[in-house]
Every structure is written in C-alpha cells, then in structure tokens.
Point group: C2
Chain length 403, copies 2
C-alpha cells in the first residue's frame, strides 16, 4: 500500500522549509562557560507558506516561557517560523520570560515574514534570555538556507552527536510525501516525556484533525518510553509542522512513518544518554493490565540498582525481581519468568543461576543492546520501555554541567 524510504540528511528534504543555525556565544553565567565543541547555539526553521502545527509539551508544572508563549495563540493557529536556542531554557523567568520572547520576535519581524512565530529553548533554568545576543543572530542567519546539519547542531546541549532523520513515503497511487525531524536530548530524560526538543516537518497534506491524534500516538510509543534518569524537564517539546505542499496523504502511511521517525529519534536520545553504554528494552508481559505492565516496565528503566547492574554487566536478576516487587504491581514468585533476550534467567523451576546460564547471561549483557523480558504470568498486559545503564560518566556530566 505504501513504501517508506530512509533519506540522507534531515530537514532539507522537505519542500518549502528552510533552516539555519549560528553561534552567538550565549553564556548565561560566568561559572558556566558552555560547550566549546558545539558550533551553534541559535537556529530557526521557516516555512515559505503557512503551516498547520501541533505540539506535545512537558507535564512539568513549571512550564518554560516558550511553552507559555505558544499557549497564548488561539486554537488551530497557523505558523511559518520556529526560533530555537540552546544554553538558556528561559524557564522560571516569570512573565518577563514571555515578554522577552515577544520582544525578540518584534525585532525578528524586520528580517523575515513572521506569522505566529514559535520559540523553543533548552539549557540552564532561571536566567533571562540575553536579547542582545539572540537578536545578533538575525544578521548571521541565511533565511533561505536549508542547513539541517547546523540547525540540528545548534540545539545540542550535553548531546554528543546531532540527531536528524528523514524519510520519503511512496503511496500506491504514485503520490509521495516527505517527513524530517531533528531532536536534542541526552539527560533529564524520563518516560513522562524526555527532556528534549524535537521538530518534525512534513509536506504531507495531513488534515489538522489527524495531526494531534497521530502525534499523541507517536509520542506515547517513543519519547514517553525512554528513560535516562527519571527526570522530566520544564521545556520538553515535540512540534509537528505540515505545509501540505506535496498534495499527498494517506493516514496509515503517515501514522507509520511518524511512529518510525519519533521512535528512531527517541532511540538516538537513549543511545546518547549521558554516560550510557547500553540500550536495554524492558519488556513486561503477562501483567494484570497494560497499566500494570507500564508501571513495572518504567520502574525497571528507572531503577538505579538495575542501571548500575547493567553497567557492571552483572546478570543479577534479583535486582530486577526486587524492582518489580517494589513497583506495587500484582506479581508472584511462582508465576514470574525473567529472560535476557531468549535466555531464561529466572523461573519458578530455575531459581538459582548455575554456571552455564550465568555465562550465557554474561555474554548477552556484553552486548550494547539487549532485552530484559519479565513475564508476570498473570494476564495479558504488555508494555515495553527503554533505558540505559548508569555509569561514572553520568555522574561526572551531571555534577559538572549546569542544566
């Protein structure tokens, strides 16, 4: 019915969108000299026609000023511009934080056409944006560039690599549309939505009514399932912009490619988890309900003891069992089975780990990615979330970096 092809590059592959990233030396605090190896700190995505837009924001009660600014627009507004900056989250800055954004856009409007422009920020909490520095970017921007690479790099904070993807979808009838996404995020990641910014553009002719449904669904299957450290930021944002330029659309095809791009971007965040060496899927099945499976799965991906055992490559199923037991879901020693990939590491019959199974488990844990499967043996509830190990490096990054 349709075919999905991975493309080289990112945002440049979607018709009608332009983007660029530059460096204006944003440093919010003398003690924090910023990340010298990151080239940019401010970027934009612009569309040459008005776009429909839908967004998912953090569940944190202290929503950052850019989110408050977005929420002042009327329902079903259209936009043609997103401005993004790193190194300053513009969070906990009160009403001034929103006014600062309005001031910035007022200046920007003399450089390029703006309709309901959106701002998105990441970085340190608690400092006002330096308007002078931000507006100094406007002379540097090439508003007709399609520089996805620089855009994706400009939004990085503790990220160690840029994150961009793009796909072409060919429909049966010969039509095709493109979709692209960039994101940032490496720490402060939690299933209740990662601390991350993600910007997705498409030229599909998607009806506004489908956008929210499909984005909700995609985020629940991707960003809401990854955990680096169980923390949820003030700035988490996923934005989907659609300009309809391809004149092509198929709901199932769009659902699939949107799920794919968000899932793969989420996995890139996890692979880049601060100090992480291993990407682990925590698949819980046989739970009394899907909700219980989700609780147990997320407890596993957030447990410090599980995460340090992964780092130590210790086939210590006791910590996995204990975490499930502590999560509050219904479970019993007799019906529980734990696997590493296909290897049974605990069951009612095989309780103690013998040398042979321990050696096999140890080999699996040496891999950079594997599954921990817990079958509670009580019902049909299933849920998978994704986590990583906790290393010295995580502590180092977070003791030294000011978020």
């Amino acid at each position: 019915m349709f075919n999905i092809f991975s493309l080289k590059g990112g945002l440049e592959n979607v018709d009608g969108f332009f983007c660029d990233g530059v460096n204006v030396g944003m440093k919010t605090n003398p003690a924090n000299s910023g990340d010298s190896d990151i080239d940019g700190d401010i970027a934009f995505i612009r569309s040459d026609t008005l776009c429909d837009v839908t967004a998912k924001f953090t569940t944190n009660k202290f929503q950052a000023s850019p989110i408050k600014h977005y929420q002042k627009y009327p329902k079903d507004f259209k936009t043609n511009f997103i401005l993004m900056n790193a190194k300053n989250a513009n969070a906990m800055t009160g009403e001034r934080g929103v006014k600062d954004i309005e001031g910035i856009f007022k200046k920007l409007s003399s450089y390029t056409s703006l309709t309901n422009p959106i701002m998105s920020s990441t970085g340190v909490i608690g400092y006002r944006l330096n308007q002078e520095k931000i507006t100094s970017a406007f002379d540097k921007f090439n508003f007709n560039a399609k520089n996805s690479d620089k855009t994706a790099r400009a939004i990085m904070t503790t990220d160690s690599f840029k994150k961009e993807l793009s796909f072409r979808v060919d429909l049966d009838n010969g039509d095709s549309f493109n979709i692209a996404g960039i994101c940032k995020g490496a720490g402060m990641i939690n299933p209740a939505m990662a601390t991350m910014l993600c910007f997705i553009t498409t030229d599909a002719l998607i009806p506004k009514s489908d956008m929210k449904e499909l984005l909700d669904n995609a985020v629940n299957g991707s960003f809401n399932r990854v955990s680096v450290d169980g923390d949820t930021s003030t700035n988490d944002t996923v934005l989907l912009l659609a300009n309809g330029k391809s004149n092509a659309y198929n709901k199932e095809a769009f659902r699939e490619v949107l799920n794919k791009i968000t899932f793969e971007l989420a996995m890139m965040i996890l692979q880049d988890g601060e100090g992480a060496n291993k990407l682990v899927a925590f698949e819980v099945k046989g739970a009394k309900s899907k909700k219980e499976a989700e609780i147990a799965s997320k407890a596993l991906s957030n447990s410090l003891l599980v995460k340090t055992a992964l780092f130590g490559e210790d086939p210590n199923w006791g910590r996995i069992a204990s975490t499930i037991g502590a999560s509050g879901v219904e479970c019993s020693e007799e019906s529980l089975t734990i696997y590493y990939d296909d290897l049974i590491i605990y069951s009612n019959k095989l309780r103690e780990l013998n040398k042979e199974r321990e050696d096999k488990a140890y080999k699996i844990m040496k891999n950079s990615s594997f599954k921990v499967i817990c079958d509670l043996g009580l019902g049909d509830g299933e849920f998978t979330s994704y986590g990583c190990d906790l290393s010295y490096e995580y502590v180092k990054i977070n003791a030294e970096y000011r978020t």
Copy 2:
C-alpha cells in the same frame, strides 16, 4: 517528666538480652567472594524470658522467606530468639526458603531454648541458604554473650561502619528503662522503607497494644524518610522486642526515645549511603496538603539530577524547581521560595542568582550536611525527607557488588 541519656554501646545495655556474631564464611556464589573486611556473617539476639514483639516489613511484593516465616506465627505470639545472617537474602527462594528456616531452627533447638524463633536475612537475592554453613555457627556462638559489637558487625553488607545505639530513660517516679538498637543498610534505600534490618530491644514494660502504634509512628518519622537510591528491598525489617524486665514504662517517654533511636539509626544509614558525602534534609512546606509536601519532598530526595548537583556542589536551584514541577504537586513560579539553610536562593523577586548569593550558596553546599527548604506558598502542608548526593563511588559499589 522524664530524661533520656545516651549510653555507650548497644544491645548489652538492656537487661535479659544476649547476643553474639560469628563468621562462617557464607559465600553464595563463586563470582562473589563476599566482603573480606567484615568480620561476621551470622548473629543472634536472645532473651532469657519471653518477649512481646512487633515488626514492620518491606512493602515489596516479593517478601523474602524470613518474612513469610514470621507471618506464619499467630497474632500476638511471643518469642525469645532472632537469628540473623548477611550475604544471602533468602529471597525469591519459594517455599523451600521457608522450609530451610524451619530446618535451621530445628537444629538450633538442641543448642538453646527456642520459642517462636525469628529469622532475618540480608544479602544476595535468589540463592538458598547454605544450611550447613549456617548451622556451623551454632558451635561457635556464645549464647550467654552480650556482644553487641560483633552482632552489629555481622549484619553489615555494603555498610562501612556498624550502627548501634542505646539509651536509658529515667522517669519522674525514679523508675528507669533501657532501649537499644542495631541496624544495617547503606544502599537500596527508599522512603517506602529502607533496605535495612533494624533490631530494637527494650526492658520497658510496654503494653503490647502500644508497641505497634509507637513503632509505626517511629518508622514513619525515620526509616520511611530516608532515600539513598529510591529502591525498596525484599527484606526490609524493623523488629521491636520488649521483655518488661525493668517494670518501668511511660508512653510519652517511650514514644520519644523510640522516635529518637529510629531517627538516629536512619541518619546513620544515610550517612553511610553508598558513596554519599552529604546528608541533605529536603524540607517542603506551604504545600496544599501534607501528602503533596511528602510527594515533592520524596521526589527531591530521589532525583538523580538533584543528587548529582549536590555531589558537584552546584547551587543549581533550577533542578530543584524542575523536580518539584515534575512531581505533579500544585505549585507556581510566583509563590515558590527555595532556601539553602537560611539563604533564599530563589523567590519570585530574586530569580537570577547573583554572584554574592551564588558564593554564599556554594559555601553552604560545601558542608557535609545542610537543608534544602522549598516553600510552595500555597497552604499548610509540610514534610521533610532526607537524602544524600550521588557520587562515582555509588556507581562503583553497585556495579561491582551483587545484591
């Protein structure tokens, strides 16, 4: 009305109780050679008369076999013996785990008088007890010893120091009674009760009906308020044994001394938190309700980003605010005030940290213990929990040690 005096030593100060600890070389797994610097691995507490007993156990659904064994006794049973071992939790061992305990006590009964003996274990999950090794201790025990030091040392796992305390309470009428406690625990600590074992003995003539009420109250104010890593074990146990030998009792005095001994033991656990360098009180006030204050306070003591900022001595109030916002409690930027000890580090008026306040905050964070106070400014709810920083050492201990 009464006076409380701290005594030197531990369990030896309570009339009618005897205790000893020995080493029988319990090693559950060739890969895990145990902790060579810990002298004992098995210990007992014995009373020469029958005691009333009350217990608080883990909320983990996978309760360890010693807990299941305890729960088979009828309500209001009396006991004269507790046997404790380290290095093997006897958890996730099924019905055999309980039968093993019965077998051990059958052998022990030829050495000393046993009435409803209690077992308590800590260590690795998922291996049966080595009955031969455990019973080999019985020849080594001195059943008439009062060796609290060896007893407290024998139950240590990743603990770096033994934990014992004792007090004498003098009442107005010239009567007095004693109370003593030992405990272990350094990791797998969570507000939903620490992974810890705690044994408290008293010669107070406390009515059985008061024991449960006062122990519940004491545990809620102590062990349930400390967090090292947010994990809750299969074996957590607090036992209170009372033999009435002093013929002295006063409910208020007992409440106070029991609160004191459990709180001070809980603080010893936190000071010994794996790799911890700082002990921090997270005092949340001005919340809409006590429950909301508790949620916010425990979110702070469990946040990896807060814990690593403490380790980095970074006066980063943004992570504190973000954690409160993410905890789901009602809060607002305008009504929130954050203090480090007496220093306001965030308020609606003082948002950005200037150099002077940053330097002051930095000095406070250099201390080995301080308060983080968050006034939500919305109501009367208050709650304090206690946490520690997260260091490289925590990761090292938990990557290498098999729990």
